[in-house]
């Protein structure tokens, strides 16, 4: 009972935050409501017994990634945005399609046998267990992620650095020498 109550509270926070993300005009309000969604999702993970995932959700997602987002929003001085109206085809096909898919998903979820349910704390994903799994069975993917992160860091540094530093222009003297060399070869 308590489990269901907590699920409903956190779920309402999640959905409210997600809808607020869509409704807000300013990117920074959207980012802040995404932080609410992520915090509430960490609560849901705790209900599912995923302790480690809940903690890294708060530290990495709600912490590091969102700080990066807010930093960029402030850096670029992003203002109020305008929404697109969408084409007529999108409205004519999209609304019936959305209703059809929604009904299909609802039907699949509703005909699930009632016996399948998640008891509170059925699985205990403590950092110790997850760490053992990561460093034994998933050792190779784990090491590959470190390479991925390294490449991402280098890519971010290269992409975000100013153009003139990324592609240094040849110095005028150097250019003259190149031209001279070309002339000699031509002669």
């Amino acid at each position: 009972m308590l489990h269901l109550l907590l699920f409903l509270v956190f779920g309402a926070l999640c959905i409210g935050g997600a809808i607020n993300l869509l409704a807000q005009k300013h990117p920074i309000s959207s980012a802040l409501s995404l932080i609410v969604v992520m915090g509430a999702l960490a609560g849901e993970y705790l209900l599912l017994g995923a302790e480690f995932v809940a903690v890294i959700q708060v530290i990495i997602y709600a912490g590091a990634v969102m700080v990066l987002f807010i930093f960029v929003i402030m850096l670029l001085n992003a203002g109020v945005e305008e929404h697109t109206r969408g084409s007529r085809v999108a409205w004519l096909l999209g609304i019936p399609g959305m209703i059809a898919v929604g009904l299909m998903v609802a039907w699949v979820l509703a005909r699930n046998p009632a016996g399948i349910s998640v008891p509170l704390g059925a699985l205990y994903g403590s950092p110790k267990v997850i760490g053992r799994l990561l460093f034994r069975e998933f050792l190779l993917p784990f090491e590959v992620t470190s390479i991925l992160i390294l490449i991402a860091i280098m890519g971010a540094v290269v992409l975000a650095s100013p153009e003139h530093r990324r592609f240094p222009q040849p110095e005028p003297e150097e250019e003259r020498e190149l031209v001279a060399a070309g002339d000699r070869r031509g002669a």
């Binding site: 489990h3 269901l4 779920g11 999640c14 959905i15 997600a18 993300l21 869509l22 990117p27 959207s30 980012a31 995404l34 969604v37 999702l41 849901e44 993970y45 209900l47 599912l48 995923a50 480690f52 995932v53 959700q57 997602y61 590091a64 990634v65 990066l68 987002f69 960029v72 670029l76 992003a78 945005e81 929404h83 697109t84 998903v105 609802a106 979820l109 509703a110 699930n112 399948i116 349910s117 998640v118 059925a122 699985l123 994903g125 267990v129 799994l133 990561l134 069975e137 998933f138 993917p141 992620t145 991925l148 992160i149 991402a152 860091i153 890519g155 971010a156 992409l159 975000a160 153009e163």
Partner: protein
Amino acid sequence: MVPLSYYLALSAVLFTCGVAGFLIKRNIISIFLCIELMLNGVNLAFVAFAAQWHRLSGQVFVFFVMVVAAAEAAVGLAIIISVFRTRETLNVDQVNLLKL
């Protein structure tokens, strides 16, 4: 005891909100936020199934999804900064040099 379908429904709602935002938003940063929302919805489904089938590997997959999301955020935001520096806009409708 919460039915598994409740978790899946919440996950589906979050993912749908992300897709809808991806389609209606025009600010490139808001679009990026909606992608993060979609990833979060998928993560919830992973954790729910991990708890359902008593397999911890579902939670390890969430870890990998988070790593990829962090890498994507770093590179994506760098691209956004680069685009803003050259085009002076964040509206995706005005970044259309590749359009025919």
